[in-house]
Symmetry: C2
Subunit: 160 residues, 2 copies
DNA sequence: ACGCTTTGGTTCAGATTCGAAAATCACCGC
DNA sequence: GCGGTGATTTTCGAATCTGAACCAAAGCGT
């Protein structure tokens, strides 16, 4: 009762949820249509390609992808089988390992990128005016920061 | 090259993708923490509870949930096992069947709703000012309409 | 009424995902 | 240096999801 949403905000919430789910599935479909990559595959390739040395620790990658640890293991194994990434054990910390982008992976990414960008643009980006871009950026960067903080806080219960 | 995104829009895109993924997983976790429902379960219950007669055709449900047909079958079967919904064959069209909300399902929904609303509010909604709500609503309703239209168009290739 | 195509749903096999427990190694104080 | 504690990743089993094949009923033309 006391915590019901007013109609405007309820409509906002629902529109966001539904459209986002549609958009994510559409992006998946597009990506699979003109490359051999899933959205997750693509995202991994992008992150690695931008990382120094084109390599990242598993934990770091999982954090940025918002993947559970076990999902990341499966994901990387799958990409490893297809030759897109390699797994190397970390020199500094022998507990950890890191994913490294291969030449084939980079090539695949360069191949897929234009298609994906086009897909992102036609489905959402080109349809936004400057004010909307500014608004979305502000909202979602704030949201991302907060959710990241929440997660860190709950994993580190250094409270009180 | 010619289709690269300017930095503002790239940042916008990435912030949206990452924050949304975080938000969706957070909502799942919250929901599971204080009820026995997944986000999909909850969504099904909401749609049924608002439908006339608290019943919906499978196809209709699949369309609104953005689920593949087989996924919906699985989803409903699972909820049926738990007594949240019942399956009845449609009188008008004997091919079809419809999902009906049970008393237990309605009760479960009423139980879970306040928690979920609270979660939606603390993670996103309460953090938005009125202008942002208006902006998001406008953007995502437009996006939803367009994606729905795209999908209908591709399934009905009544072109030319 | 009879074939043919289409539509609404399900089933099945296989791929993907998750959570929990285990394995591996690092770090710290003694 | 040794045992305890913590961090990082993998393994394992169960749950979920997908696409393709399938079935039964409806629609349509003849």
């Amino acid at each position: 009762m006391t915590d019901s949403l007013d109609p405007e905000r309820l409509a906002c919430w629902r529109a966001y949820i539904e459209a986002s789910q549609r958009l994510f599935t559409q992006l998946e479909d597009d990506l699979r249509a003109d490359s051999e990559l899933s959205f997750a595959d693509y995202h991994v390739l992008v992150l690695l390609s931008e990382a120094p040395g084109q390599r990242l620790r598993m934990g770091e990658l999982a954090g940025r992808l918002v993947f559970s640890p076990s999902r990341l293991t499966y994901q990387i194994s799958s990409m490893q089988k297809r030759g897109l990434v390699a797994r190397e054990s970390c020199p500094d910390d022998r507990r950890g390992s890191e994913a490294v982008l291969t030449a084939a992976g980079l090539l695949t990414l360069r191949e897929a990128a234009p298609h994906h960008r086009r897909s992102a643009r036609t489905h959402l980006i080109d349809d936004l005016d400057d004010a909307e871009v500014a608004c979305l950026t502000r909202v979602f960067e704030r949201l991302g920061r907060r959710l990241r903080a929440d997660r860190d806080a709950s994993s580190t219960p250094a409270d009180k």
